[in-house]
């Protein structure tokens, strides 16, 4: 962390960048939040630890409009989103100084809580340089430990790799934390009967309160104005009126980001209701891989997205029924 | 539904043939190796079914002269398959009790020591219920 801060200070001091986009500590030990730092002094508040899951790519859309360069800290998986945003002309590469920060998997406080850990005062082992395999948690009720891996975000278990896809420099080591197949859950649902599938999604989606947190955090959902807020489709909605509208919102959202979604998992991370929203996006990713060949959005800034491309002998939509 | 119509429908159902597809080119009759033995010719079979004159058809000698060699089926340009119609008509006859073309007591005199099993088996299948 200190290395990043030192470098940020240098870049600010020599005028290479006008500001630094990183994280600052929140009110609790496990909720750091994205922040801009415009002076060397303000960097005192900079933090970077296992709880800095937030993907800062999307902030660069606004930062690209500002005067001067912005130093942005991107984890390996965040760089996919950044690439995708470059491809869509939403961020200006020249306005960004990308520091690829090391990552050994990010933590999910909910997972820690689910292990029965309450009244958290401080957490040790979440530091990025720390090689500890366990987290030591100081709580009101005494010290608890839990393994780092068990506390990781779902997305880190299906890590895309430790490589930064785009950067100006890299600070710190990264680790590939993949230990699961990312399509297991999708495949499990696919194997259900229609009734079970419907019941599953109805149960999950009925929790939706249309807070739009998923949309707001999503680096692919970067429209100036969402269709669900405009009158172009008579679809401006305030809240869901029935179960269909939730479905419609989430299907269309997933459809709009299909072929563009890098599977960064931010939607599920931020959902206050804990809806596994990434299951929609991953379904499309799985289908795209199966139907049109493996594709990873954000791998580079050139490749044509699968929905703006075709081959003469693509599968017919009837495949859905035939596949059963 | 009249009896004739019913029988015609039955033949169409059993054979899966639509006689209306026939364009009366005569290729079936041109093809048939048993043509000269037949009183009603293969192409006429189609017309008899289309005209629902099944009684004449089932009385005809042709029923028993057809070799089931499928040459007409293979060559029919309209997918009408007269051979299937003939077989269906034969089915109608043998399914009616006592209408066997081959009587059990006829067999011994027809037998010869070289006769392959298959011939008897198929004769039974073709001519008896």
């Amino acid at each position: 962390m200190q290395e990043v801060i030192n470098r940020a200070k240098e870049l600010l001091a020599d005028g290479t960048v006008a500001r630094v986009l990183g994280w600052k500590a929140g009110d609790l030990p496990y909720n750091p939040e994205p922040a801009y730092f415009e002076s060397v002094e303000s960097l005192e508040d900079f933090v970077y630890n296992g709880f800095c899951g937030a993907n800062l790519s999307k902030y660069m859309i606004e930062a690209s409009k500002l005067e001067g360069k912005t130093m942005v800290c991107l984890k390996p998986c965040d760089t996919y989103s950044f690439n995708q945003l470059i491809k869509e002309h939403r961020v200006d590469r020249d306005k960004a100084y990308i520091v690829g920060v090391g990552c050994k998997g990010k933590l999910d406080i909910e997972k820690i809580r689910k292990q029965g850990v309450k009244g958290i005062e401080s957490i040790k082992g979440a530091e990025i340089t720390d090689e500890a395999d366990n987290l030591t948690i100081q709580t009101l009720y005494g010290e608890k430990t839990c393994s780092y891996a068990d506390a990781m975000l779902e997305r880190c278990h299906v890590c895309k790799g430790k490589e930064h896809k785009i950067y100006d420099e890299i600070i710190g080591e990264s680790k590939d934390t993949k230990d699961a197949d990312r399509f297991t859950e999708v495949a499990r649902i696919e194997a259900m009967s229609p009734e079970e599938k419907f019941a599953f999604f109805q149960k999950e989606l009925s929790k939706c309160i249309r807070c739009n947190a998923c949309r707001n955090v999503c680096p692919a959902c970067s429209c100036r104005k969402c269709v669900f807020d405009s009158n172009k489709f008579d679809s401006a909605q305030k809240a869901n009126v029935d179960s269909f509208e939730e479905k419609m919102f989430h299907i269309i959202r997933a459809f709009h980001v299909a072929g563009r979604c890098t599977d960064c998992g931010e939607c599920s991370r931020v959902c206050p209701q804990g809806i596994p929203l990434h299951l929609f996006n991953r379904k499309f990713i799985k289908d795209i891989n199966e139907f049109y060949g493996d594709f990873q959005a954000g791998e580079d800034t050139e490749a044509r997205g699968p929905l703006t491309d075709f081959t003469f002998d693509d599968v017919e939509p009837g495949i859905v029924g035939e596949r059963g | 539904m009249s009896k004739e119509k019913k029988q015609a429908e039955l033949i169409k159902e059993i054979s899966g043939v639509n006689p209306l597809k026939c364009m009366k080119c005569g290729k079936c009759s041109a093809t048939c190796p048993a043509y000269n033995e037949m009183d009603i010719k293969p192409h006429q079979f189609v017309s008899y079914v289309a005209n629902e004159d099944i009684e004449t058809l089932v009385q005809s000698k042709s029923l028993w002269k057809c070799l089931s060699c499928f040459a007409c089926v293979e060559r029919c340009p309209r997918d009408v398959k007269p051979g299937k119609l003939i077989d269906a008509a034969r089915q109608i006859v043998v399914r009616q009790k006592g209408q066997n073309y081959l009587k059990a007591d006829e067999i011994p005199e027809l037998l010869d020591p070289e006769l392959p099993q298959q011939l008897l088996v198929s004769a039974f299948r073709r001519y008896r219920r």
Binding site: M248, A254, F291 | -
Partner: protein
């Protein structure tokens, strides 16, 4: 069996037809008097690639029991490539609908050329039959909008 006579289920079916092939195919079905149930109502779009998944979901929301999209055969699109994009879009959309438990068969894509009046009619007959066998769309419709 209930004592009351069961009212025949008349599905609501929306058919999106591209202007150049399928709409003309439907016209040909008409001029050839090749019937299909009145449950099918056609919406003319310039090309199958004009069909937004929103339109299809909206139809279901408003109570459609089935939605079919027809376009030119791949390779014959009036706009060269429109139906290729449409094919990918619909494949993914249908797959998603299947994924969330909407019965397979409520959606369909069929390529019908301007010369295929027969195919248009057969397709619509088949589709209506399929939707009738699936029954009312209860999974996706918006109950508020039913009269």
């Amino acid at each position: 069996m209930s004592i009351e006579a069961k009212e025949e289920f008349r599905p609501k079916i929306v058919a999106f037809c591209c202007n150049w092939c399928s709409y003309a195919g439907a016209d040909l079905a008409g001029s050839s008097r090749l019937g299909y149930p009145a449950d099918v109502k056609i919406i003319r779009v310039p090309c199958s690639c004009r069909v937004n998944p929103m339109f299809i979901l909206r139809a279901f929301e408003k109570g459609a029991d089935g939605v079919i999209m027809c376009g030119c055969h791949p390779g014959d699109c009036h706009y060269s490539t429109g139906n290729y994009y449409a094919r990918r879009r619909m494949t993914l959309l249908f797959s998603m609908l299947d994924y969330i438990g909407v019965e397979n068969g409520r959606t369909r894509v069929e390529w019908v050329s301007a010369a295929e009046g027969v195919k248009f009619s057969t397709t619509m007959n088949e589709f209506v039959e399929k939707i009738r066998s699936l029954g009312k769309n209860v999974r996706l419709e918006d109950l508020r909008c039913r009269k």
